[in-house]
Amino acid sequence: MSWDIEKIKSVLPQREPFLFVDEVVRVDAASFTVVAKKTFSPGEYFFKGHFPGNPIVPGVILIEAMAQASILLYAACKPEVAALKPDYYLGKVKSEFRQPVRPGEPVIMEIKGLKMINNAGVGQATARVGENIVAKAEFIFGVIRKDAR
């Protein structure tokens, strides 16, 4: 099963220019796995400064993209919680970056859930361009229902 951008927007509160998932290629809630795709266009606002004449996707943006894909995985695993439109917040991130990502290169992010409960999620992400791993990250995020704030 795949998700288009409208389905993605129904889960993620982020919007352009801070929405960093174009498509969910595969969702498998049974195995706690999501594969998502993002292609950064040459017109992204941050390429003007990162870096002039040498555009590279900032590592923090790659982390955000993988975190957004992790929320989509959470929504697939916990649809009853996601339906309540909770707030998601990052608790901890461990990351590494192996290769630069440039405009136009499709980034494929595979997220594996380690634990998904009503108020938190733990996941591992691997981002690839082609066969090459460009970044890896582990996330712990909290999930807070709006009526519990």
Binding site: K92, L114, K115, I117
Partner: protein, 79 residues
């Protein structure tokens, strides 16, 4: 085997909480005594599950409030 699990769990909790092994008291309550936040608590649970390839049911997680309670759960599940 039981002592090995105990030592391994103690190391997991010590690493995540950044509380030195020699000061980590088994019965200290994660929240009341050690002031661990809920993110660290879920990190401990996930690390525990990953290491021993077991699943702690969601309803059991709130009961995992100390190292000794995690050890007791582990000894029961890992024979």
């Amino acid at each position: 085997m039981a002592n090995k699990i105990e030592d391994e769990l103690k190391k997991i909790v010590s690493t995540i909480t950044e509380i030195p092994l020699d000061t980590l008291k088994p019965d200290a309550d994660f929240f009341d005594d050690l002031k661990i936040d809920s993110m660290k608590a879920i990190e401990i649970v996930a690390a525990f599950e990953k290491k021993y390839k077991i699943v702690i049911p969601e309803e059991e997680i709130p009961k995992m409030r100390s190292l000794s309670k995690i050890i007791a759960f582990a000894k029961d599940k890992i024979k």
